[in-house]
């Protein structure tokens, strides 16, 4: 099997997971991300997917025009690229989790300050 095809086959599920996760985050009610953020993420993963699909023609073009003298892709390169794409997925997911966590902490922080003061105002009124 061609190593380029192997690269696409291994990475396609990762790219798909990235796209599905972005759409799910947007479509879940209430939305956890905005529409533009969802679009940004989908475009990001599609770019990676399309980029990986065209690795072979890009490499061939570079060789034909003497723009590179690197050897064809090895199995190690496939593993390395897959690891890189997987790391990207982890980074995006972690970033989303952190953003959601930050939003929750901020909301709790706000609520604490407001509820505390509203209680004090109510106490003063009843006195």
């Amino acid at each position: 099997m061609s190593k380029y095809l192997l690269l696409v086959l291994i990475n396609a599920p990762i790219v798909l997971v990235g796209i599905i996760r972005a759409v799910t985050r947007y479509k879940t009610k209430p939305s956890r991300i905005s529409k533009s953020k969802c679009i940004t993420e989908v475009v990001f993963w599609l770019t990676i997917g399309v980029g990986l699909s065209f690795v072979e023609p890009i490499y061939n073009t570079l060789i034909q025009h003497n723009l590179t003298d690197s050897p064809p892709m090895s199995l190690f390169d496939v593993a390395l690229l897959t690891l890189f794409v997987f790391a990207l997925l982890l980074i995006v997911e972690t970033n989303e989790e952190l953003t959601a966590l930050k939003r929750t902490v901020t909301r709790i922080h706000e609520k604490l300050a407001i509820v505390d003061e509203i209680e004090q105002i109510a106490k003063k009124r009843t006195k």
């Binding site: 905005s34 300050a113 003061e117």
Partner: protein, 240 residues
């Protein structure tokens, strides 16, 4: 008991402002009269995790004090103030935000309210960047304000001249739209204007006076702070 929709809440985000907070609070008039309408003023200081006696001094001066356990930034403190305005049932008509370092003349609070009542404005920004003020603004501030306003115009289509002004007036009706901003630091000034632009809320500007203290100059003025604001604004623009 306050009359319905006859109160102005003055929100003062403050971080370690024990030197100025009492003077700022006491200089705000207890009533504002505009076109035969009398507005009572209430003052809410948002103590943003101060390590000095800002909260105690503000309470002693008669203000409502909302305390953040940890420092969140000017944006976080302002958002708490605006959310408090939504929930406090004080019969509010307007919310005015003002910096706690004494850089704004409190006469301008009255002028802002007067302007809003007469022009039926829902969002008024105090503009420091007018000809009469330009000589009193330090060069670094001028640069930061100019840069922020240019970025706001290019990235967000905001036409307001002074996007970073802390002296602002909001009609209570628009607060649910405006208080949804996400930035905790200085970039929130631009983000609130962006929310207004997107909701088609007209933003008016009123020339105001300004004076800078040494402490005020030290806050948020490093190159890194400016870079942080730029990064935040770019993130907001991309991710909405």
């Amino acid at each position: 008991m306050t009359n319905a929709k006859q109160t102005v809440l003055v929100v003062i985000p403050a971080l370690n402002e024990e030197a100025h907070i009492r003077d700022v609070i006491q200089s705000i008039p207890s009533t504002i009269e505009v076109a035969k309408r009398q507005f009572k003023t209430k003052i809410a200081v948002i103590d943003d995790g101060s390590t000095d006696a800002t909260a105690e001094k503000a309470r002693a001066a008669g203000a409502i004090v909302l305390s953040h356990v940890v420092n969140t930034g000017a944006g976080g403190a302002t958002r708490t103030g605006l959310r408090f305005a939504e929930q406090c049932h004080l019969g509010l008509k307007y919310v005015v935000t003002i910096d706690g370092d004494g850089q704004h003349a409190t006469d301008d609070v009255e002028r802002l309210v007067s302007f809003a009542v007469k022009n039926k404005s829902q969002f008024v920004v105090g503009n420091r960047l007018h000809a009469a003020n330009k000589t009193s603004i330090p060069v670094t501030r001028k640069l930061v304000n100019w840069g922020a306003s240019t970025i706001s115009r290019v990235l967000f289509g905001i036409k307001t001249k002074d996007t970073q002004s802390g002296l602002r007036l909001y009609d209570v009706a628009i607060i649910p739209t405006i208080s949804n901003f996400t930035l905790d630091r200085y970039g929130f000034c631009t983000e609130t204007l962006w929310h207004a632009v997107r909701a088609k809320i007209k933003v008016d500007e009123l020339p105001i006076a300004v004076r800078y203290s040494k402490e005020g100059m030290a806050k948020g003025q490093s190159l890194w702070s400016a870079m942080e604001v730029l990064r935040d604004l770019l993130r907001v623009r991309i991710s909405g």
